[in-house]
Structure formats: C-alpha cells, structure tokens
C-alpha cells in the first residue's frame, strides 16, 4: 500500500543526504585522498610531485618494510591464538558454579578496563632486566633472569604477554556469552549415551560455541593487527627494528620522517591485508554457523 498521495513522487533524498554526506566525508574522502597521496612524493616541508607507483615499487624493495610485515604477522598469530585459547579455558572454568566465582571473574576481567598506555608503562618497569619484579620472581623460583623486551629474540613473545594479559578477558566474556545460551537437551542426551566430559566438550560444547569463538577471533585479529600503543610505549619498535610492526613503520614514515606519500602507500598495503584477513575470517565464520 502506498502512503504517498496519487500523482506525488516520493522523495527520500532529504533523509538519506545527511548520512551520505557523513559517510562521504568521514570514510570515502579520507580513502580517496590516501590513494591520491600514495601516488605522490609528498613531504610535509617539500613540494608535492606525482610519482605514479614509485612509492609502491620502493616499498616492495624496502627490506625494513618486509621485516615489519613479518613482525606484524608473528605478533598477530601469537596475540590471537594465545588469548583465544586461554580465554576459552577461562570461560569453561568460570561457567561452572563454584564458591567465589563472582569475585574471581571480576578480578579476571579487570585488566581489560586499564588504559593501554598506562598498562604499557607499568609492564615496562616490570620488564627491567635488573630492577623489574619479573626477574625477581624468576629468581625466587630458581630460574635465571630474562632480558624480556631488551632482547631481539624475546621481544615479540614478551610483548604478546602484555596483549594476553590485557585482552584474554574479552575473549572469555564473548565465550561466556555463548556458553550461557547453550541448550541443555544435547547434554542430557549425551549423558544418557554415557559420553565422557571430554566427548561432551568435543562434540557438543565446542561446535555450539564456535560462532562466538569466531567473533573473538575476528576481533582479536583486527586488534592485534592494529596494535600500536603498547608496542610504541614499551619498545618503540626496538631493540633495533626487532619489534617494528607495520604500524610502527607507518608511524615513523608519516610522523617522524614526514614522508606522507610513502606512508600512504604503506596504509594502502596494510588496508588490503586487513581486508583480506577479515574476508577470510568472515568466510570461515559463515561455515561455523549452527544452521550451516
């Protein structure tokens, strides 16, 4: 049924236009402008010259850029797999009824509320090889001291410790949401069939909470890929370039060296990488839906 009077053309534009302007101004324009900058030699204090794909050509021959891509992937894999694994285990524990569960769950989610920069500063002090509390604790249990973030080999796994501490609670909350909505019937049937606890988890719980795990996985992947504040505050990409991820590399090119064209080319590559990974994860998620 039409609500417009006969002969009057319906005009939706006044309603759509404000949103369209915002989307064009806030999302589309920055992207188009970034693409425009990426094909120019654009230095803040110098002239702007069109260079075509020269920035991309340079980027693909820049060993430091390749290194930053590898660091990003290494960091992302660890900073996704570990919080998801530990978060899942924590959710299974906190899903059970036991005394003091409320308080313990509250304590467990506390790190998530802390400001990343403040968290990074505290961890920096804890990682100090001579004065940090972590080496003191290692000493108490008879283990040798570590150089934590002050070592090219251990810096990325150590930074991942901070990510795990900070973001595992988020994964736990997402999974807990899934566990709370599980139907009871499959468990009753499994009970009658004599299934063990592991079998119930493997064949009922895990498949049913997989969509939630996939959401956690997507969120963690995006978060880990764009991780900047913690790494910058703790190591600034060091020692040397051992923890220089694409974001740190990008920041230096744009805001320390002021090579905006080159930095824009990095953004384009980074965006492509994020889109590719997100599409892959969304595709996987579609397959894990209950009705799939």
């Amino acid at each position: 049924m039409s609500i417009a009077a006969p002969g009057v053309e319906r005009n939706y534009w006044p309603f759509v236009l404000p949103a369209l302007i915002v989307v064009l101004g806030v999302i589309v324009f920055p992207w188009v402008f970034t693409l425009f900058m990426s094909v120019h030699d654009w230095n803040v204090s110098g002239a702007v010259t069109f260079v075509g794909f020269e920035n991309f050509r340079q980027l693909f021959t820049d060993a430091r850029f390749y290194e930053s891509v590898l660091h990003t992937l290494y960091f992302t894999v660890l900073a996704v797999v570990l919080p998801v694994g530990i978060g899942l285990a924590a959710a299974l524990v906190f899903h059970r009824e036991f005394k003091g569960r409320g308080i313990l769950r509250g304590i467990f989610i506390m790190p998530m509320m802390a400001t990343p920069v403040a968290v990074a500063l505290v961890w920096t002090m804890m990682f100090h090889p001579q004065l940090g509390v972590l080496n003191y604790l290692l000493g108490l249990v008879g283990l040798p001291p570590s150089t934590w973030v002050y070592n090219t080999k251990t810096v990325i796994p150590t930074l991942v410790i901070v990510e795990v501490w900070h973001w595992t609670p988020l994964v736990m909350l997402i999974v807990l949401g899934g566990l709370a909505n599980l139907p009871t019937e499959p468990y009753e049937a499994a009970e009658i069939d004599g299934a063990s606890s592991f079998q119930k988890f493997r064949h009922i719980t895990f498949p049913l909470i997989l969509p939630n795990l996939m959401i956690a996985l997507i969120l963690r992947t995006i978060d880990a890929l764009k991780a900047f504040d913690t790494i910058y505050v703790i190591t600034q990409g060091g020692p040397g370039t051992a923890s220089e991820t694409m974001n740190i590399f990008l920041y230096l090119q744009a805001f320390a060296y002021f090579k905006l064209g080159y930095a824009s080319a990095v953004v384009v590559i980074f965006f492509t990488l994020v889109i590719a990974l997100s599409l892959l994860l969304l595709h996987v998620r579609q397959k894990t839906k209950w009705n799939a």
């Binding site: 090219t152 020692p239 040397g240 320390a256």
Partner: protein, 446 residues
C-alpha cells in the same frame, strides 16, 4: 614627622653625601635603564608561546604573571610533549601561518630545517635596537656553545639559546674507590676502567649508556668527536663509514656489550638512569641534566657518591657533544615586538639562574654559572659546575646539522643496536651510510 630630615646635622649630611657618591653610578645606571627602556611599549597585546613539555617550560610558564605585570602583555603559553611539539611546529610552519608568536626549538634537530624553510626572524636587528632591547639584556653573557647553535650558516641569529646540554661522564665514586680505579683520562681508558669495575656477579656493570635505536646515536657521536670528526663534514658529506667512525663504533660496541648491564641493547636514558641510580653501573655517559634525580636521596641510592667528569679526550681531539634549545619568532609573526620582549625576559639572567638552581638544565648564559652563592648552596657540588664550565669550552654539536635528523638517528641507531647484538661495525656502518646517503641528498635538493 621627624624634623631631623628637615634639619640635618653635619654628620648626617656628610654620611648621606658619601653614600650618594658611592651609590650614584648604580642609581644613575638603573635610572637610565628604567627611563630609556619602555617595557610597557606593547601593553595590551598577547603573545602565544609554544614550548616543549619539560621542567624548564614548567618553571618559566609558572612565572608568566611576572612578565605580564612588567609589560602589560598577556601570555598564552602551551607545552606539548617533545615529539608532538616538533610535529606541530613543522606542520604549522609549513602552513605559512603558525598560531604561535614564540616557539622553543630543539636546535640539534630543527636548526637546519628552520633555516631551509626560513621559519624564523633574524634577531640581530632587534638586539641592536635600543628601543626594543633592554640595557640589562647583556647579549655578551650568552656562551659560545649556545650561540654556535643559534647562528645559521649565513650569520643570521634566528633563535636565542636558552639551554645547552653537554654530555658528561657520571661515575660512582664509591665503586671507583673500592677497586682503586682512577677517573679515565682518555676514551680508551674508559673501556679499561670499565673492565676493572665490571662485576656481573654483584650485578654491577662497568659502563652504561643508551642502546635503544635513535636515542643511542649521541653516544657513538661522542666517541667520534674524540677523533675530531662529526658525522657530516663541512662540505655536507657523510663521514659515517670513515676509519674514525668505525673506531668510534667499535668502542661503542665494546662498551655496550662487554661491560654493559644485561638488556642494555634496549636502554634509553631512563633505564640508564635507574641502573646508575641504584648503584648497578660504575659509569654512565649522558646529558648534564641528571644531577637533580641522582642527588635526591629519596630516589637515588648513589646520592652523595656521584662524580661528574668531562668526557675524556679521544685519540685526536677533546670535545663534549652538545645539544641546545633556543627560542625564536616566526617570520610571519605580526607581534614581533611583544614576542621579542617575551624572549628577552624568558632568557634573562634571573630566569636562567632559576633554571640552574632547580637542576632543570645548564643555562646558555655564563653569569649563572659564575654565581658563587648558587654554587655554594647547590647540592650538586662544585664538581658539577666545573664539569659544565669545562664542557662548555670544548662543546661541539653531537648531531649533524641536517634536515632529516630523525631518519639519520633511526638508520644509524639500528646499525649501532645491531652491533651490540654482535654485528660487524664496519659492515653495519657501510650499510647504514648507503641507506642514508640518498635521504640526505634528497633533503638538500628539496
């Protein structure tokens, strides 16, 4: 009313006359200064000031009212963290119309770009103008190290130096005495002294300095100055893979790996400071400005035991790496008179002395360092003041005067860090020089 004033005795008259004769020059000079210089000339105007956030900025910003009362000029000052302030300054200068009338610049980083972009006003005509510059200003009081930084190649003085940082060698007197080690006279002796003092079993390192990329470059350039060389020569060519630069890098590598604390590869000044302040390092090479925290017994375990020494001589020369901050007025500023009065006041003798007394850094003027009362009352001790004065005489820029200073520090900083990890200094410097050469060439052509 005391009628003795109206009917003075001969004794009073003679005494009064004597005082008048003795005090006359000072009174006349003061009266002349007061009468000829008009601080209120730009009353009613506002100056916008951009500082880097640090203790020096905090001190001067807290005294803004004093300037406002003296001149009638309103001060609107903001202090931004160092990296962000440099970004803000660059972007605003590039826009052509910066929002500030006075800006504090790190001359060891921004001197060349300021010259190339013609950012700032030449202060010399204003200094020479008696109607704009107070007779109390005393330009000759500024030391040579600061003025060298403030003067561009074409002779223009586009900033007034405010603070000059000299790199010195801090040493733990107690550890030196325990091992019977004398203060090193040469750079080579630093290594031999550090080897004697290095005691990993007790958690004591012989030497500590910056290992973190970018921050670590002045350590290497300090050693290179001992060869009488800087990283870029007067013709603008890189000397970074010369035999002298390799020698300096090898010394850097040995000091930061053989006799350094664990993890020094990632140390910036703050980790070095905490290591030295807890008595876990016998020597520390860094800027002069750490006496205040080191002598604070509530924060430092080495308070009262810290020795301050001029950087020992190198094989061919004896220099102290210096860094400086200066204050300038943008070329496009429309309130240059008021801005210049502000700079004069901010860098006057009294404010430079306040900075020194508060341990906020070494002043660009000589007079505060000659203030015997300040030296006597200071908890830093005479040795600290002697070190400043001695370093000032042999000061030489610790970083090259080029546009891409940050990139220079990053590229060579990574090379130095790699050396601590075991890489060959010669190969690393060759690689870094090759990587930086086009960056430098492009920056000068732009």
């Amino acid at each position: 009313m005391n009628d003795r004033i109206l009917r003075p005795s001969r004794r009073h008259f003679v005494g009064g006359a004597s005082l008048a004769v003795l005090g006359a020059p000072a009174l006349v000079r003061n009266a002349f200064a007061q009468s000829t210089f008009n601080w209120k000339r730009f009353a009613g105007e506002t100056v916008n000031v951009l500082y880097v956030k640090n203790t020096r900025a905090d001190l001067i910003m807290a005294k803004s009212k004093e300037f406002e009362d003296r001149t009638g000029i309103k001060v609107s000052a903001e202090a931004v963290p160092e990296q962000q302030q440099r970004q803000k300054a660059l972007i605003e200068f590039t826009s052509g119309k910066p929002s500030f009338d006075v800006v504090a610049l790190s001359l060891h980083v921004q001197k060349r770009i300021a010259a190339k972009g013609k950012w700032l006003t030449d202060l010399r005509p204003m200094i020479a103008d008696g109607s704009l510059t107070s007779p109390e200003f005393d330009f000759k009081d500024f030391n040579a190290a600061g003025l060298t930084f403030s003067t561009q190649n074409d002779g223009t003085l586009d900033t007034l130096p405010k603070f000059v940082d000299y790199w010195i060698l801090y040493y733990n007197k107690e550890l030196f005495a325990q091992k019977g080690v004398a203060y090193p006279k040469t750079m080579d002796e630093i290594l031999t002294a550090a080897q004697k003092l290095h005691d990993p079993g007790k958690g004591i390192a012989g030497f500590v300095s910056r290992g973190l990329k970018n921050a670590n470059v002045p350590v290497w350039t300090s050693w290179l100055l001992g060869q009488g060389m800087e990283t870029v020569d007067k013709a603008g060519n890189l000397t970074t893979n010369s035999p002298e630069a390799i020698w300096a890098a090898e010394l850097y590598k040995r000091l930061n790996s053989e006799v350094a604390p664990p993890g020094a590869i990632g140390f910036n000044w703050n980790e070095c400071q905490s290591t030295f302040a807890t008595g876990r390092a016998a020597m520390w090479l860094d800027g002069i400005g750490f006496a205040a925290p080191l002598e604070d017994a509530t924060k430092s375990r080495v308070a009262g035991k810290v020795g301050y020494g001029i950087v020992p001589a190198g094989p061919k020369a004896h220099h102290s790496a210096t860094f400086a901050d200066g204050m300038g007025i943008p070329t496009s500023c429309t309130r240059k008179g008021a801005a210049w009065l502000y700079i004069q006041w901010a860098c006057n003798k009294e404010n430079q002395l306040t900075m020194l007394k508060n341990g906020a850094g070494s002043p660009a003027r000589n007079s505060p360092l000659a203030d015997t009362e300040t030296i006597r009352a200071s908890k830093f001790g005479k040795e600290w003041f002697d070190t400043i004065l001695g370093s000032a005489k042999i000061g030489r820029p610790g970083l090259p005067v080029i546009v891409p200073v940050t990139e220079f520090r990053d590229i060579f900083g990574v090379a130095l860090t790699n050396m601590i990890g075991g890489a060959d200094p010669k190969a690393e410097l060759a690689k870094a020089t090759e990587a930086f050469k086009p960056v430098l060439e492009k920056s000068e052509k732009a």
